[in-house]
C-alpha cells in the first residue's frame, strides 16, 4: 500500500516540483530578457543549460524534503558506488555537494561554527564541519535535508569522510556501511581487489536489509550502464574545452558537476549532460567562448573555492585567462570508462579504487601532465587546500615536476575550498594577479 508520505514524495518529484521549477525558470527567463547584458562583462553569453541545471538540482533537493518516511534515504559520499543503491529505491543525499552549496551561498561560517561549538576543531575539513553543523542545527539553504536511514561512506577520496560519517551515525543513530578501498601504490594487489568485492557484497546485503527489497543483478547492471554513459557524457562536455576558445570556463565546470556527483546512474543526469554537451558543441561551432577574450589557458588542481568562484573567475576573465581543465572535474569523467557492465562487480571494484585521490603521486602527476598537454595550457594553479590533506600533500613536489616536465608556470595558491574564514582574500588575490601578470 502506498503511504501518504510516499504519495507526497512522488507528487513533488514528478508533478508539482517539475512544474513549479519550470515556472520559476520561465519567470527568470523573462526577467533576464528584460535586463540588458553588461557590455563590459568579460564573460561570453551565459550557458542556456544553466537553467536546466538549476531546475534539476533544485528538484533533487526539493524532493529530498519529502523523502524520509516515503522511500529509504541514504547519505552518500561522493566517491561511493551509488549505482548499487539506486535499484533499491534509495533517495541519495550528498553531504559534500550540500556543503559546496552552503559555501557558495556563504553559509559555511554560521554552520561550521555550530560544529565548532560542539568541539570540532577548526583544522578539520570544512565540508565536514559545515555539514555536521547543519545536522546539529537543522539549518540548510535547501529548506530541509531528509533524515538518513543509512550512511554510505567510501574512503577512496579520504579517511576524513569516515570520521565525519561516524559522527553522523551517532547523531542520527543509523547504520553506517563502509567501502574502504586500499590505497593504490603502483598496482593494486589481488587481495586488495578482493577486499573491495567482499565489502560490496556486505553493502548489498545492508542495502537490502534497510530498504527491505531484493534486487537482481540485471537491475544493477542497468544502473551501471546509465552511470557509465553519464560519466562519458560529462567527459565529452569537458573535452569541448580542447577547442579555442573554450566554450565554457573551468569555473562553469565546477558548477555543472552537480548531476554527475549527486545524480549519477539516473536518466535525468544523462539527459542533462546531453543537453549541455550539445550546447557546448554548438558554441564551439559558432566560436563562442566561456570568456570573451581567451588569451591564456590554465589548469586548476584540487577542489574549487566555492565561496569565491565568481570573484576569482571575474579576476581571471578580465585578464583573458581561462581554466580550461581541472583535475577535480576530470576525476568524474575518468572512472566511468573502467566500469564494464559485463563484469559488474569486478569492474566496479576496479573503478572505485582507481580514483584520482586513491592513487599515488606518480599517477597524479601523469594525469596532470596529460591534462596540461591535451588542453594546451600555459600554466597551472594548484590550490593548496587547507582543509583537504589527501589532495594537498604532495602538491609542492607536483608543482616542481610540472614546471620542469612541461616548462609551464605553476602557482601554489593557498586557500580553503569551503570556509572563507581560512582564506586571506587580499594577499591571495595579489599573488594570483602577480602570477597572471608574469604571462604578459
Amino acid at each position: 500500500m502506498i503511504t501518504r508520505r510516499r504519495l507526497e514524495y512522488e507528487l513533488v518529484k514528478h508533478v508539482v516540483g517539475p512544474a513549479t521549477l519550470r515556472f520559476d525558470t520561465l519567470r527568470g527567463e523573462l526577467k533576464r530578457r528584460k535586463k540588458k547584458p553588461r557590455p563590459d562583462s568579460p564573460f561570453g553569453p551565459p550557458l542556456e543549460a544553466a537553467h536546466k541545471l538549476k531546475e534539476l538540482m533544485s528538484l533533487h533537493y526539493l524532493a529530498g524534503r519529502y523523502a524520509d518516511g516515503a522511500v529509504p534515504v541514504a547519505w552518500v559520499t561522493s566517491g561511493f558506488p551509488v549505482e548499487f543503491l539506486r535499484p533499491f529505491g534509495f533517495h541519495a543525499v550528498y553531504p559534500e555537494n550540500h556543503a559546496a552549496l552552503c559555501s557558495a551561498q556563504k553559509q559555511v561560517p554560521e554552520l561550521a561554527s555550530a560544529a565548532e561549538a560542539e568541539g570540532y576543531a577548526t583544522d578539520l575539513c570544512s565540508y565536514a564541519r559545515c555539514d555536521l553543523g547543519s545536522a546539529f542545527t537543522g539549518k540548510t539553504p535547501v529548506g530541509r535535508l531528509p533524515k538518513p536511514d543509512l550512511l554510505c561512506c567510501c574512503t577512496n577520496i579520504c579517511q576524513t569522510l569516515l570520521y565525519w560519517y561516524r559522527a553522523l551515525a551517532t547523531h542520527f543513530n543509523v547504520p553506517l556501511v563502509l567501502i574502504d578501498p586500499p590505497f593504490v601504490y603502483g598496482k593494486a594487489k589481488p587481495h586488495h581487489h578482493q577486499y573491495i568485492l567482499d565489502q560490496m557484497e556486505e553493502l548489498l546485503a545492508e542495502a537490502a536489509r534497510v530498504s527491505r527489497k531484493q534486487v537482481s543483478l540485471a537491475e544493477l547492471v542497468e544502473v551501471m550502464h546509465l552511470a557509465r554513459e553519464g560519466t562519458a557524457l560529462w567527459g565529452e562536455c569537458l573535452d569541448a574545452s580542447r577547442n579555442r576558445p573554450a566554450p565554457w570556463t573551468g569555473f562553469d565546470g565546477f558548477v555543472h558537476i552537480g548531476p554527475i556527483v549527486a545524480l549519477r546512474g539516473t536518466k535525468e543526469c544523462n539527459a542533462y549532460y546531453r543537453l549541455l554537451r550539445d550546447e557546448l558543441h554548438d558554441r564551439v561551432k559558432k566560436g563562442i567562448g566561456g570568456i570573451k577574450n581567451e588569451r591564456h589557458r590554465l589548469m586548476w588542481d584540487n577542489l574549487p573555492i566555492w565561496y569565491g568562484l565568481r570573484e576569482l573567475s571575474t579576476l581571471l576573465a578580465e585578464r583573458g585567462f581561462n581554466f580550461v581543465c581541472t583535475s577535480y572535474t576530470n576525476a568524474w569523467a575518468e572512472g566511468g570508462a573502467l566500469v564494464d557492465p559485463s563484469q559488474p562487480m569486478a569492474s566496479m571494484a576496479r573503478a572505485y579504487s582507481h580514483v584520482l585521490l586513491n592513487q599515488d603521486l606518480k599517477n597524479r602527476l601523469s594525469v596532470l601532465e596529460r591534462l596540461a598537454r591535451t588542453y594546451e595550457v600555459e600554466g597551472a594553479v594548484l590550490h593548496s587546500d587547507r582543509s583537504c590533506k589527501p589532495y594537498s600533500v604532495g602538491q609542492i613536489d607536483l608543482k616542481d615536476r610540472l614546471q620542469k616536465a612541461l616548462g609551464i608556470r605553476v602557482l601554489l595558491f593557498e586557500a580553503d575550498h569551503a570556509d572563507p574564514r581560512a582564506y586571506a582574500k587580499e594577499p591571495a588575490e595579489n599573488r594570483l594577479t602577480a602570477f597572471l601578470e608574469s604571462f604578459a
Partner: protein
Amino acid sequence: MRNAYIANQKSAHGRKALAVLPIHYPKELLTALDILAVELWGPPGPPRGPDAGRVQTYVCSIVRNALAFMAAGGADAADGVLFPHTCDSIQGLATVAPDMGGWTKPAFTFQHPKGSSRPSARTFVAAELRSLAEELAAFAGRSLEPERLWAALRLHREIDRLRAELLDGRTRLPMTDPELYRLLRRGEFLWPEEHLAELRTARDALGDDAAQSGVPVMITGYVPEPLSLLEALNDAGAYVCGDDYAAVGRRVQRALLGTAGDPLAELSRQYFLASPCSTRSADQSARLRYLTDLFDRSGARGVIVHVLKFCEPELFDIPAIRRTFAARKVPVLVVEGELEPEISGQLVTRLEAFVELLGQTRRAA
C-alpha cells in the same frame, strides 16, 4: 635516528633495520624475520634541512618532520621503510617520499582496514599480513619460519604484559612520568629482548605501597612529546595513572595469546583484539567505553586530551570524549601541540590550573 645502535645491531647480529612510521604494524613479523624496527615519530622539533617545506604547514608535524628527516638522510641507517596506513597524511607521505624524492631504499606499506571488524576486514587483514610477510621475508633474505613467529608473538606479549603491569601499577612505581615514558618509548627502537630486560628491571621496582602522592590523571592522546609536558604535570603535583597515548598504552595488547595453529592467523586474530584507536576508525562507542573503563580502573580524577595539531583521526574524537566525561562530571583539559621541543609557559599555567582544580575536587569529595 639511533645510528650507533642500528650499526651495532647490524654488525653484531647481521640484522637489517626498518624505519617505521606511526602507528600500528605487525612488529612480531619483523622480529621473527630478524628485522630491527626503528620507529619514526617525527622526530621532535621543527622540520629541518632543505626539504623542510615540502609538506604544507597545515599538515601534522609527524609527517612534515618525517619527510624532512628522511630527505636529509636522517634515516639512512635503516635499510627500508614501512608506512602503516594510519591516516590520509601518512598515506600521502608514503608516496611523496619514495615517488617524489626523499627515500630511495625499499618502501613497504601495511594497509589495515578501517571501521569495525567486518568479515571482509578479517579476510583482508589475514591476506595483507601474508603479503607483507612475503615482502619482508624477501627483504630480510630469510624465510618466515612458523616457530620463529610463534616465538616472536610470545616475546611481544610478554613485553605487553610487563608494560601493562607498569602502567596499571603506576601508583606503586617509584618513577617520575618522564622516567617511565622514556623507558616505555625505548621499545620503539630497541631489539625486543633488550627492551624486555629493561622492563623486567623496572617491574622489580614495583612496590606494595603507594609511591605517588600527587593528583592522579588519565591521559589520552597521540604521542608523549615533548616530555616537558609530563615534567610540568609532575611539577604541578599530578601524575599519569591511566595512559591511552596512541604511541604507548593504546598499543599494549592485553588479549591472551593462542597457543597453536598458524601463527599468521593468530597475528591476524590479535589485530582485532587490540584497544580501540582513532587511526583505525574503530567503533567510537567502543573507544569511549574503553576510555571510561580505563578512567574507572585507574582512579584518575581528571582527563587530559593531548593531541597533535592537524591530526584528524584524534581531533574528530574529541567532541565525543568531552561529552562522555562531561556527562560524568569529570574535568577534561584539551591540549594541542606540534612536536615542539618544549611546552610554552602558557601551557604550564593551564596544567597547573587544571591540577589545582582537580585537587579542589578531591578535597570537596
